[in-house]
Amino acid sequence: MGLAKRIIPCLDVDNGRVVKGVQFVEIRDAGDPVEIARRYDEQGADELTFLDITASSDDRQTMVHVVEQVAGQVFIPLTVGGGIRTVDDIRRMLNAGADKVAINTAAVFNPEFVREAAEKFGSQCIVVAIDAKRVNAEGEADKWEIFTHGGRKPTGIDAVEWAVRMVDYGAGEILLTSMDRDGTKIGFDLALTRAISDAVNVPVIASGGVGNLQHLVEGVTEGRADAVLAASIFHFGEHTVGEAKQQMQQAGIEVRV
């Protein structure tokens, strides 16, 4: 009896529509974020994460409406990331019904923003999203660096040091994505996950690379993640959140069923 490890489906939203294809057998219009959120909620998702990938900042207001609608119908924690750059961005999302915001690029360009945000809204709602890529050559000691702009721009910042610094600045949780594994379906970068999770005293969400349910188990048992995030294995109806929890439970992991 204790705290459950969390399973978090992630939805990429472009101009108010869920993209990367989400398919549920019973839903005809699978791009509607509210419908999809409801479905994951029914399946037993522990939280939901929405990443706004809208290119134009003019369309960001659309995301606010999405969050408002979801928050009026789905009563589990909601995290919103993508384009969170100012205190006003955070306030707008929290007022719309988000419980946490994920700050990524803005933290790299202005680390003080994380401190300001945590002081203003409390660490419990400030997630720092870290996109990390392995930079050591084979045979060398493990080393990962932070990349921004969806993994395109290197920064030269060491990922483990960065995570420690962000927690020191007030991050209440780390959303860790391996850019090497993202989209590969070969599993999390477990060494990266464990290195970050061991280095910080706040919960770490593992992300990037999930291709089957066993990967979720490994993220917790070997990566020591407190939560696991996945998109495509749930989106295409390959697996439900309930099946994922069953597998984790069989592996001896405490989950909410």
Binding site: L3, R6, F75, D99, G122, S123, G172
Partner: protein
């Protein structure tokens, strides 16, 4: 028509709280407010809260909500504290190098500690305590109606309440140690977890609150 006031002191997750109450309301009106007349006119009152205790107490005092909440308690109206709203009801919090709270319930608010471990597995436990944990109901209460024993609720906090009178502990949970998840005294009930984020069981608790006359 009965009214429930959700106290707005600028620090809350009050939109989520209000949305959850509206979702389960059966004709009850939900008002988000810091105005004295509206709070006094309400049949039930919710004191939510997230963020740092010092800022919360500062705003509570600045807006005169301290006296209003004490009035509500003295009048016997049902009062529900949520998260920092629960902690604010106590005497004193260790957060922010020590903060005087509302002193409605005797007890203090303590930090989990940076070196927390599961006593059974030895696993290191992260702070904040974030996620779904089981709440053991220590006694029957109208707010536990239709909620299974040891049901899971969503928590996110680094501090927890230690009441002087352990008889007030209505629910407990385990995170390295046993801590108070819910507290009850007469017309006051408060939860460390977030019912508004705890899906069916959380909504049931809000429904129970709307049906509660404040008597145990």
């Amino acid at each position: 028509m009965s009214t429930v006031a959700v106290i707005d002191y600028g620090m809350g997750n009050l939109h989520s709280v209000a949305k959850a109450l509206e979702h389960v309301a059966n004709g009850e009106r939900v008002v988000v407010t810091h105005e004295a007349e509206k709070i006094r006119a309400a049949d039930r009152v919710v004191l939510p809260g997230v963020g740092a205790m010092r800022d919360c107490m500062h705003e509570i005092r600045r807006l005169g909500i301290d006296t209003l909440v004490k009035e509500v308690v003295a009048d016997g109206k049902p009062l529900l504290g949520v998260c920092v709203g629960m902690q604010a009801l106590m005497t004193f919090s260790d957060e922010n190098n020590g903060v005087e709270c509302l002193k409605i319930l005797p007890g203090h608010v303590a930090y989990f500690g940076d070196d927390l471990h599961d006593p059974n597995t030895g696993e290191r436990l992260k702070i904040p305590h974030m996620g779904w944990n089981q709440v053991h109901q220590t006694f029957d209460h109208p707010l536990w109606y239709n909620i299974e024993q040891d049901a899971r609720f969503y928590f996110v906090h680094s501090y927890y309440v230690e009441p002087v009178d352990i008889g007030m502990i209505a629910g407990s949970a385990q995170y390295g140690l046993a801590f108070t998840a819910a507290i009850s005294r007469a017309n006051v009930f408060a939860t460390q977890f977030h019912p508004e984020k705890s899906q069916h069981d959380g909504l049931q608790l809000y429904k129970n609150f709307l049906n509660w006359d404040g008597r145990v």
